[in-house]
């Protein structure tokens, strides 16, 4: 499988603050990739770099182009949805459709109107008069009507209630994703997207701390609810993270053979959220 994103040694400083500190990232074509990190980790800077909205040092190729020198060409193949604030508030719904139709060669107006007809969004209203959920629905309707290779989503469901969030991801999967298109999602709501992901990236303090296919995770990471009498044995296997769990201890291991872990207690693959915490704690503890 070829990669739609290839980045090597991306660096970006804002004054004294290092936003990206040598980011290496590859995203396979057709993947649904989750970019997970705490606040200030460099998620938005990475995503903005991918679509040419932020100048970075290093090697970068997205859909075969360098976003820094060919953003407008790249955006024929890439769509971007940030949090709900970015649609111009002064535009009416019909006017934003007119605009995208005028400037985007791959926009299908009928498709967008079909998507919109399944929502309660009135076409004669200004965007400032829509609820946050409606603005997101509108943006998604526009994006889904564009024939692109890559969709970049930066906290797309921020501030939305659970119904809109669920609907957002359902529509994304059912109406946009076809197995060939690639989606990169950055979000804090890890649990909501875990089931969608085929590729996972953790970023912390401007560095990639994990870059893996979801299908490879069980081979590398394991979480064990360790029996009380086997704690010393578990400690000896150098876990990357230990947490207390209802009177027991949960150990997260990296690259330890499952046969060695099975004898310690109840074994399973950690959730993305648990793995995220584990990797960040590991980073913190060196």
């Amino acid at each position: 499988m070829s990669n739609i994103v290839e980045a090597k040694s991306l660096r970006k400083n804002y004054g004294n603050f290092t936003a990206l500190d040598g980011v290496d990232l590859t995203v396979p074509r057709g993947a649904i990739s989750g970019l997970i990190g705490p606040n200030g980790a460099g998620k938005t800077t990475t995503l903005k770099a991918l679509i040419g909205l932020c100048d970075v040092d290093g090697e970068l190729s997205v859909a075969g182009r360098d976003p820094r020198i060919a953003r407008h060409k790249l955006m024929e193949d890439v769509c971007f949805v940030a949090d709900v604030g970015i649609l111009p508030k002064w535009l009416k719904v019909s006017q934003v459709i007119d605009y995208v139709e005028a400037v985007h060669p791959r926009f299908d107006r009928k498709k967008a109107e079909k998507f919109l007809s399944t929502t309660d969004i009135p076409k004669n209203k200004r965007i400032k008069d829509l609820s946050k959920g409606m603005v997101t629905q509108l943006h998604l309707s526009l994006v889904m009507a564009i024939e692109v290779q890559l969709l970049v989503l930066d906290e797309p469901t921020l501030g939305l209630d659970i119904i809109y969030r669920k609907e957002f991801y359902d529509r994304l999967l059912n109406d946009f994703y076809d197995g060939n298109r690639t989606i990169i999602i950055s979000t804090h709501q890890v649990e909501e997207i875990e089931a969608l992901l085929s590729h996972l990236v953790f970023i912390n303090k401007g560095k990639i701390v994990l870059d893996s296919l979801m299908s490879d995770l069980p081979d590398t990471y394991a979480e064990v609810i360790v029996d009380v009498d086997k704690v010393a044995q578990a400690d000896a296997l150098q876990p990357i993270y230990i947490r207390d769990l209802l009177g027991k201890k949960s150990y997260t291991f990296e690259s330890v053979p499952r046969e060695q872990l099975e004898v310690l207690g109840e074994l399973h693959t950690p959730s993305v959220a648990d793995l995220f915490v584990a990797k960040l704690k590991e980073e913190k503890n060196g």
Binding site: R71, H72, C79, A82, K89, Y99, V103
Partner: protein, 284 residues
């Protein structure tokens, strides 16, 4: 240029008009209404016989004369619109690349396959070529209302309507000259357009303060270091001569554009505009 590129640019211009319709349409409409109200009020203060006599005199004055010879009369009537256009242009240019960064909608605009050059060019075309069209149309509408009123007044006072017809033709001729004047003046003021766009694209806050402040600073440094005031004098010579702003005859258009001073200004303006395009590249 292919058909899509033309439609794309039309879409960009439409966006500018929709976003700034207060400056493009609202402001000249208010000026037109104020002039109509003021004229009506003045007319009510004058004795009807005197008014008819004045109309008869003006009708004779315009009768048979070339509309373009009489057009300057109406161009002077349009001066309030001209001043409004320039105030609105400054407001537009200083805010146009700043406002969308401030409200973060730049992420939406930049997520479309439109280059920064196209974006900046559309903004220049919008204010230099499109906005004056709206102004001219609104002035035309105002003249039309005035002509209807004068015609009714003429009929009811037995005034020769042919002269009023010539007057209307002169008014229309003035609209052509007003539009050309606005365009030529924009070329003359291209350095100012470039300067405002540059700081609109650059400033994180208060772009007008940046544009004014940096200009004053550069002028002060020139005076302090070299003891000269070339920059200040150059700008003053470009902004303080009212003759530069109005063109009363077609024959002077060529010489107004193709002279050393204007062409030098176009070069300086183009460099500043290129700077604005460069600054627009990244949103951070």
């Amino acid at each position: 240029m292919d058909k899509f590129a033309v439609l794309q640019f039309y879409g960009l211009l439409k966006r500018e008009v929709l976003e700034h319709k207060n400056l493009f349409i609202g402001a000249p409409t208010v000026v037109a209404l104020l002039i109509l109200v003021a004229t009506t009020w003045v007319a009510t203060q004058i004795d009807q016989n005197q008014l008819a006599e004045g109309l008869r005199y003006v009708s004779i004055l315009f009768d048979g004369l070339s509309p373009f010879d009489m057009a300057p009369f109406f161009m002077l009537v349009a001066i309030p619109f001209y001043l409004t256009l320039y105030v609105c242009s400054v407001i537009y240019l200083i805010n146009t690349l700043y406002q969308d960064r401030k409200e973060m909608s730049i992420l939406f605009w930049q997520s479309m396959p439109v280059s920064n050059f196209q974006t900046v060019l559309s903004k220049i075309v919008a204010i230099v070529l499109v906005a004056p069209i709206f102004y001219v149309l609104i002035i035309f509408a105002m003249y039309l209302i005035a002509m209807v009123w004068l015609t009714i007044l003429g009929i009811s006072n037995d005034v020769d309507l042919v002269g009023i017809g010539w007057m209307f033709l002169a008014a229309i001729a003035s609209l052509v000259l007003i539009y050309i004047s606005a365009f030529v003046t924009s070329l003359w003021l291209l350095p100012s357009i470039g300067w405002l766009l540059l700081f609109s694209a650059f400033a994180k806050k208060t772009p007008l303060l940046w544009a004014g402040g940096v200009f004053i600073l550069v002028g002060f440094l020139e005076d302090f270091v070299f003891g000269t005031q070339y920059l200040a004098n150059w700008v003053a010579s470009r902004t303080s001569d009212p003759n530069q702003y109005l063109i009363f005859e077609f024959q002077s258009v060529f010489e107004r554009i193709f002279n050393y001073d204007t062409l030098f200004g176009i070069v300086v303006g183009s460099i500043l505009i290129a700077g604005a395009v460069f600054m627009r590249r990244f949103t951070d």
